[in-house]
């Protein structure tokens, strides 16, 4: 195949497909066994310094925050993160000094809430390095290629732009149409983390609402940690198998963490905690504020349960439930209003 152009971004997370097959053969158990453990144990066991990590969900939706805080608590360093529209998770991890390299589709912004002070400061001062650019479709198709066990997947995006120049993609001539087409290399994160509404002890995980790219990402990653609102009986899964997005053989750890996505949204269950997100965005404007945030909400608490108490406890969580169920309107910060 004729290579027409090559991007100059770093090739993050690629493996030869045969090497990956062999790794799977040796390391991924097909045995139906109990994988429940604490969040601390899961991070201890499966997240290592220097790993390439990715989170399920999207932006501020269904983000496995208990795992994010635990990674900070355990002081992981030099992580490379998939900025696959990574917003709150990546901002917090960069602010804490855990993530130092990012492949960016969308990062350093909080959508309508504005840009990320911590993430941008780190990139603009060189503390965190952007190693490659890509788009949202591009990233999830990199995961799709990995999920399919392929070295790459073609797509008709990125071409003609600097996003391509700084990507790890290549443009070739399509042997059928004769037109240029972009080849996206597979991406295999070392570990992917998800928060789901229900999962059994073996790791059969179900998701309600949009999947974003969790189907592809869970199949692309070598290690998968699932946190769940509740661990349900296997029977609950078997009664509705069409809802299972991540089957057990992909999963390495299952942790029960009610409200484990706070302050991000858990569809149908609880809304974004805008007050808390605003507190982070305000404090993270300075290094001192960033430190104060982590002292208060990560290092100053024993675990996620104590964190939930500190952010407002049952009263706050019930309020977030009512907002998600459209029984109460949401709180809008004054400075978040336009005009």
């Amino acid at each position: 195949m004729e290579i027409l152009k090559e991007g100059h971004g770093e090739l993050v997370g690629w493996h030869d497909p045969d090497e990956h097959r062999q790794w799977v053969r040796e390391n991924k158990s097909r045995e139906l066994k109990d994988k429940t453990m604490t969040v601390a144990e899961a991070v201890e066991k499966f997240v290592h310094d220097g790993d390439f990590i990715a989170c399920g969900g999207f932006g501020h939706i269904r983000i496995p925050m208990a795992l994010i805080y635990e990674i900070i608590r355990q002081g992981r360093r030099n992580l490379t993160m998939a900025g696959k529209t990574a917003v709150h998770d990546i901002d917090i991890l960069i602010g804490a000094g855990c993530v130092s390299r990012v492949e960016v589709a969308y990062s350093f912004g909080h959508e309508l809430r504005g840009l990320s002070p911590a993430g941008r400061r780190a990139v603009e001062t060189g503390k965190c390095k952007v190693v490659a650019e890509i788009s949202n479709a591009g990233y999830q198709w990199r995961f799709l290629a990995a999920a399919m066990g392929l070295p790459f997947i073609p797509a008709r995006i990125l071409m003609g732009t600097d996003t391509f120049e700084k990507s790890s993609a290549k443009i070739v001539r399509d042997p059928w149409s004769g037109k240029p087409v972009c080849l996206l290399p597979a991406a295999y994160p070392d570990v992917a983390m998800f928060h789901v509404p229900r999962c059994d002890k073996y790791g059969n995980a179900q998701i309600d609402g949009i999947l974003v790219e969790d189907f592809e990402l869970s199949r692309a990653a070598r290690r998968v940690i699932v946190t769940t609102e509740e661990i349900v009986d296997e029977e609950v899964i078997r009664r509705a198998p069409d809802r299972t997005v991540i089957p057990f053989y992909l999963v390495d750890a299952v942790c029960e963490v009610p409200y484990g996505a706070h302050p991000t949204q858990m569809p149908y269950l609880y809304f974004f905690d805008e007050e808390h997100i605003r507190e982070w965005l305000t404090l993270s404007r300075t290094e001192e504020g960033t430190k104060a945030y982590f002292d208060r909400y990560v290092f100053g608490v024993r675990d996620f349960e104590e964190y939930l108490e500190r952010v407002g406890g049952i009263r706050k969580l019930n309020y977030l439930k009512r907002v998600e169920q459209l029984r109460e309107s949401m709180w809008v910060p004054e400075e978040g209003r336009n005009g």
């Binding site: 932006g59 390095k129 650019e133 788009s135 600097d162 974003v212 974004f272 309107s329």
Partner: protein, 256 residues
């Protein structure tokens, strides 16, 4: 000039909404594009199909979503799907309109949302493509909504995140992008622009009430094609304004 009885943001929402056609599909982001699509649905385009990049398809949005993955984006939807599904729909030609924002634009409608200054050690780091490159590459007609001034309407971009017409006629197809696609309109606080067929360069289509041609040109580093008779954009009607308040009761996007 009599005092305008609408906010600038209301005007932008109405101008954008009127571009959308009934029975067509639109890819939307959060903020103003979402409001424009909701307004179109509640006025002339009840059968406008709204699609969100995170997987929400055809929702009946109850209140303004904060994020493109917010559960409001698949409330009473026809499908709560995945990014692979909707991006594939985009790639195979099902999406008529797509909205984009931009930090800067050039005469050919290429846009930058990645970086100002050196890529390795940037002066200003912005969020990057997100779904913008995908929308700008794949949807039939792209509508760009942005603020206009001399730092944003640039002769040459420091970084092209998302393709417009690249270097002019035929350049998109030569690069491998789908045929017949590209930027359709640019909406700013001063006016509405299209692209000249012969050169694929930015051309004024309408100026907002009270805005002069001089202001239009003074707020751009490059020369904008100005046709002989340029109409004024029609101001929001009371009915449109009423619906906008319904859509965004807290004034989060359209202002108080």
């Amino acid at each position: 000039m009599a005092e305008a009885r609408y906010t600038p943001t209301e005007l932008l929402a109405c101008v954008a909404a009127r571009l959308l056609e009934d029975g067509k599909s639109v890819f939307v982001g959060t903020g103003l594009p979402m409001i424009a699509a909701m307004l179109a649905q509640r006025t002339h385009a009840p059968n406008l199909l709204i699609i969100f990049e995170a997987g929400g398809i055809g929702p009946q949005v109850p209140v303004l979503p904060i994020s493109v993955g917010d559960s409001r984006t698949f409330y009473r939807a026809v499908s709560a799907s995945s990014m692979h599904d909707v991006m594939s729909a985009l790639q195979s030609g099902y999406v008529d309109y797509g909205f984009l924002g931009a930090a800067a634009i050039d005469p050919y409608g290429n846009i930058n949302t990645t970086v100002f200054g050196d890529w390795e050690r940037p002066e200003v780091r912005l969020p990057g493509s997100g779904g913008a490159n995908d929308i700008g590459s794949l949807c039939w007609r792209t509508i760009i909504m942005m603020r206009q001034d001399r730092r944003r309407f640039l002769s040459r971009l420091p970084f092209i995140t998302t393709p417009g017409y690249l270097t002019g006629p035929g350049a998109r197809e030569a690069a491998g992008l789908p045929e017949g696609t590209g930027p359709y309109r640019v909406i700013t606080q001063l006016g509405v622009y299209g692209f000249d067929e012969a050169t694929r360069r930015l051309m004024l289509i309408s100026r907002h009430p009270g805005v002069t041609i001089e202001e239009i040109q003074a707020n751009s580093e490059f020369e904008i094609i100005i046709p002989a008779d340029v109409p004024e954009s029609a101001p929001p009607t009371p009915e449109e304004q009423r619906i906008l308040r319904e859509i965004d009761p807290t004034g989060m996007v359209i202002g108080g």
